[in-house]
């Protein structure tokens, strides 16, 4: 908030608005007492008449205050994020805490006491679960499990180490008399140490995401801080029970019990999470008919796993973490694409929202006289020990870890890992949970915890980024979406497994392979919808994604060339889902699919590739399509035009329908049926003609306006291609023209865009009866040879383009039809001088 001085008036305005909101809230709060009293009076003194309007603040007080605070926190974030110069330097979490200070000051000013505090119950039951669930759900699973050993080492041993050393050292200093007269025993110190060992995932991750540190470092810190939260809570509970047991009653048996309970609680919690995760996966397997509420299950079941673990006094945090981790794969596969997107967004909204709330309230809590008990020695020593032991612990553990790691963590990684030990809200929440009766110095502990939280979040948060830059920590390599790399990765995996098999070593790769097999064979079978199983292959997904991008890019290109001329050639037709699914039954499709012909992709291709490289693979391609490929004004008009001409016009376009259970705008049974029928009929026709004309049906791709494509960046313009390209792909363009698409289009060169699929049913010149070669000859004489020539010229060097876009159709154009082709070729073209037999790799 210190940026108010920068002179952004509107920021000040917003702040003033805050103040107003806040004051109104607070004053209303204050007034409410009077009102409620008055109300009671009125009620008591019987009603004199029917009130037209009554002010019933008391009625809505709690939810109203909650809602107000949520919006205030949101507005704080809005103000903070408005200026990126500041957030680039100071992390958002630190700024939120600062704005919490200001808000807290206001409350304090109005009430003379701190009415609002971060309450452990609210924190642990309503704010924390969604953050953890989000972290678990968006966990990069493979990375997490490959580094699980290291993560567990840090999360379990590291946490215990921190708790023990901080507690013992403080106790030692206390004995040495460094902090005056305090009523804290050894056990209390250990308890305090354990609550201070909770590393907060939030702040570190925010910074790491900004600077893109390498993925191993990322997962180490992220995974550690996540699991560490769970472990800390467990440790805290163990020590808490020791404290309540009292020093003298503790004997060896109790200690052993404590250790056992530590493991039982931690692993039991994880197990509960796993069970719920599997349950959730199973549940989403059969939610096909209630798609509209299926995203809700994730949150409810996740929360249930949290509560169940809590009920069984197991680790709730670990439970919800593992619930998220283990359901994500199956859930994403089982649910509808839209639901997955919804879950993603809703998860982020909840997690980010409560994170904001937490930081704001961490700031607000500080403005309270009652919690501050100053003891310089205690506070400074705690701070020192926390920092020092974190460094020592990390260095020691990574040293152990490096003995077993293939790629050792280097010094920089270690420094960042130890510096990334920010303490956060969990530490405070636990401190607030302390029992005043058992721990006399609770205020001092809370105060110290807060100071440590502020120190680490603000100071370390600010310095983290310069440090990462300065130390030249290995950055993440660009996550490229090249198919060949993915293929190679797969090769690597199998090769490593094979080599381990041959050498007889049961190493990581071996285990992973066995797990993958088991997972594919049983888990997927059990937890995944059969249809989802089909499209689950990673490689295929990437392939599919690249194809989609190609298609989009292609349309984009065509549009930016000024006109949508290319549509006229039926190189692309917009199709409906139904239609598409006929072709690619195993591909999940966005509604707008663009089906392409072969030769047209050639030119935009290289640029497509480049673009793909830049882009990070986005799962919700459909949603971002609009933004990624944002159209400029003129193109917009074109698109509009295209769509208008192209799409099936629904019969009841103007009927507004509201339904709570369905989203679909235009999916009236009849309409879909009609669309389907028309498409099918069309298909059937082309199929029939293809049968007659030997060649298989395929949307043909002719380019009367090749000149536009000269501009394509890759320099692979087709014009220079010789007339006799001599590729046997050639005859398919002939065959295709028999499929009924070509004639219609060429005969109406100027009539705009039409989608054959949705044309009125009867075409007078039914192409069915015309054998393809005749049709072709006729056409060529009328429509001119040029287009087909070019199209043919374009084909040979782009065989794989087609394959990419129409994986299943490729079969129709492979080498299987040499005989029919020759007859056609000779029919129309002079034989190529030296026809290469087949060059699929000619590019």
């Amino acid at each position: 908030m210190r940026r108010c001085g920068h002179g952004h008036c509107w920021l000040l305005g917003t702040l003033a608005f805050f103040y107003l909101v806040l004051l109104s809230g607070v004053e209303a709060d204050a007034k409410s007492d009077h009102h409620s009293e008055n109300g009671h009076h009125q009620n008591a003194s019987s009603i004199s008449g029917i009130p037209i309007v009554t002010f019933k603040w008391h009625h809505v007080e709690t939810p109203y205050t909650v809602a107000l605070w949520i919006i205030v926190a949101g507005l704080c974030k809005l103000v903070i994020e408005a200026n990126h110069h500041v957030t680039n330097v100071i992390p958002e979490s630190a700024l939120l805490i600062c704005s919490g200070f200001i808000l807290g000051g206001m409350v304090w000013g109005a009430d003379k006491k701190q009415t609002f505090k971060l309450n452990p119950t609210v924190f642990f039951y309503y704010l924390l679960p969604q953050i953890i669930l989000d972290a678990g759900y968006s966990m990069p699973n493979k990375l997490f499990f490959t580094n699980l050993g290291g993560i567990l080492l840090h999360a379990v041993i590291g946490t215990c180490w921190n708790a023990a050393t901080v507690g013992l050292s403080l106790w030692g200093c206390h004995m040495g008399g460094a902090m005056g007269d305090l009523d804290i025993g050894l056990l209390q110190y250990l308890l305090f140490g354990s609550l201070l060992s909770a590393v907060d995932p939030v702040a570190v991750i925010a910074v790491f995401e900004q600077v893109h540190v390498n993925e191993v470092l990322f997962i180490m810190v992220f995974g550690e801080s996540l699991l560490n939260d769970g472990v800390t809570v467990v440790l805290f509970n163990v020590f808490d029970s020791f404290v309540s047991l009292g020093g003298p009653a503790i004997n060896a048996a109790e200690i052993v019990k404590g250790i056992i309970s530590f493991f039982v609680v931690a692993f039991g919690g994880s197990l509960v999470g796993l069970v719920f995760g599997l349950l959730l996966s199973l549940l989403t397997r059969c939610t096909k008919n209630i798609q509209i509420i299926e995203p809700g299950f994730v949150f409810v079941v996740g929360y249930l796993s949290y509560l169940t673990a809590e009920m069984l006094s197991l680790s709730a945090i670990l439970s919800i973490t593992f619930c998220g981790v283990c359901c994500q794969k199956y859930m994403n596969a089982n649910m509808d694409e839209k639901s997955v997107t919804t879950v993603r967004y809703a998860m982020k909204v909840l997690a980010n929202g409560s994170e904001t709330m937490i930081f704001v309230f961490l700031g607000i809590t500080a403005i309270d006289k009652t919690i501050w008990v100053w003891n310089t020695g205690f506070i400074l020593l705690t701070l020192l020990f926390v920092l020092v032991y974190r460094v020592i612990g990390v260095f020691f553990l990574t040293w152990i870890q490096n003995k077993f790691r293939l790629v050792p963590l280097d010094l920089m990684d270690r420094i960042i890992m130890s510096y990334g030990g920010l303490r956060g809200a969990v530490a405070y929440g636990l401190a607030a949970l302390l029992d005043e009766n058992k721990i006399k110095e609770k205020p001092l502990m809370i105060g110290t915890t807060l100071i440590i939280v502020y120190f680490t979040v603000v100071l370390q948060g600010i310095t983290m980024k310069p440090l990462v830059t300065w130390l030249k920590v290995k950055r993440a390599t660009n996550n490229e979406l090249t198919l060949i790399e993915k293929v190679q990765n797969k090769v690597f995996n199998h090769m490593l497994v094979a080599i381990e098999d041959i050498s007889g070593q049961k190493g990581n790769n071996y285990m992973r392979d066995k797990w993958t097999h088991f997972e594919e064979k049983w888990m997927s079978w059990f937890l995944m919808k059969p249809s989802a199983r089909k499209k689950h292959d990673h490689l295929f997904n990437i392939f599919h994604m690249i194809n989609l991008k190609d298609a989009l890019e292609y349309v984009d290109k065509g549009e930016s060339n000024g006109t949508l001329e290319f549509i006229r050639n039926d190189t692309a037709f917009i199709d409906f889902k139904k239609n598409y699914e006929d072709d690619f039954s195993d591909v999940s499709m966005p509604d707008l699919t663009i089906d392409m012909g072969d030769d047209t992709i050639a030119n935009p291709y290289a640029s497509v590739l480049r673009k793909i490289r830049d882009a990070v693979p986005s799962i919700s391609l459909e949603m971002h399509k609009q933004t990624n490929y944002g159209l400029r004004e003129s193109e917009n008009i074109n698109t509009h035009h295209l769509l208008q001409q192209h799409l099936y016009k629904s019969r009841n376009q103007h009927r507004f329908r509201y339904s709570r259970s369905h989203f679909d705008l235009n999916q009236d049974e009849n309409e879909v049926q009609e669309i389907f029928q028309r498409t099918m009929r069309n298909r059937l026709e082309s199929f029939k003609s293809a049968k007659l004309g030997v060649a298989p049906p395929k949307p043909i791709t002719k380019h009367p306006r090749k000149d536009t494509q000269k501009k394509m960046p890759n320099g692979k313009s087709t014009e220079k291609r010789s007339y006799y390209s001599g590729d046997e792909d050639f005859e398919f363009s002939e065959g295709d023209s028999a499929s009924g698409y070509f004639p219609r289009v060429t005969h109406r060169p100027g009539t705009g865009i039409e989608n054959p699929s949705f044309m009125p049913d009867l075409d007078p010149r039914a192409p069915v009866q015309i054998p393809p070669w005749l049709a072709e000859g006729e056409l060529d004489s009328t429509a001119g040879v040029a287009p087909s020539q070019r199209a043919q010229a374009g084909l040979p060097r782009t065989p794989s383009n087609l394959n990419r876009l129409a994986p299943l159709r490729i079969s129709t154009r492979s080498t299987d039809f040499p005989t029919s082709s020759s007859s056609q070729q000779s029919n129309e073209l002079p034989p190529p001088p030296s026809p290469p037999p087949y060059h699929p790799h000619k590019i």
Binding site: L483, M495, D501, T718, P799, N801, R804, P840, H841
Partner: protein
């Protein structure tokens, strides 16, 4: 590829390797077994295939998977990386002519995907083609239109995989065996 390997399979080690039960599920089993008999992987400049290899040759092949230690210098690392890539390249280039043609590449991809069950042959082919096209357009952005791209040469292969992090992908951490006590018995 699969036919090839069955053709010169009679050697004893082939049989032994083939009979490793864990290997049966490996989709690229044949390629890997062939790699052991490939003279190119022996680092002595020869080309061709062995009918039978001894322990030394076996070790030589295995040595491709040696992890780098922290003491290895940058140049050494580069050289090692290149060697590993070469091994991979040889695995793809089944006819030892220095280029991975589309047919060769397709075969590998098809076999690679054959065990995953859900992808049929055509898709595998298409994926191979797409990957091939990627290589072509990355390496020769301004290729003449009638240029005939024969296949991936090693240079191209190296270039397109330059972004790939190899350290964790082609290394195997063999158990730290005390070399003094290790005996070279026949397996």
């Amino acid at each position: 590829m699969s036919q090839q390997s069955t053709v010169h399979m009679p050697c004893s080690l082939c049989k032994n390797l083939n009979s490793i039960p864990d290997l049966t599920d490996n989709p690229i089993k044949n390629q890997i077994i062939n790699a052991f008999f490939d003279k190119r992987n022996q680092r002595n400049g020869e080309v061709g295939t062995y009918r039978e290899i001894g322990f030394e040759e076996f070790l030589m092949v295995m040595s491709h998977f040696r992890p780098t230690s922290r003491k290895t210098s940058e140049e050494e690392k580069k050289a090692i990386r290149k060697e590993k890539l070469r091994f991979l390249f040889n695995m793809h280039d089944s006819d030892s002519d220095g280029t991975i043609t589309l047919e060769e590449y397709r075969k590998v991809v098809e076999e690679l995907l054959s065990k995953s069950g859900n992808i049929d042959l055509e898709v595998a082919k298409a994926i191979a083609d797409a990957a091939m096209l990627e290589v072509a357009s990355t390496n020769m952005p301004d290729m003449a239109p009638d240029y005939f791209y024969e296949g991936i040469t090693f240079e191209h292969f190296e270039q397109i995989l330059s972004g790939l992090e190899m350290e964790s992908r082609m290394h195997i951490r063999f158990l730290d065996v005390d070399t003094n006590t290790m005996r070279c018995d026949r397996k």
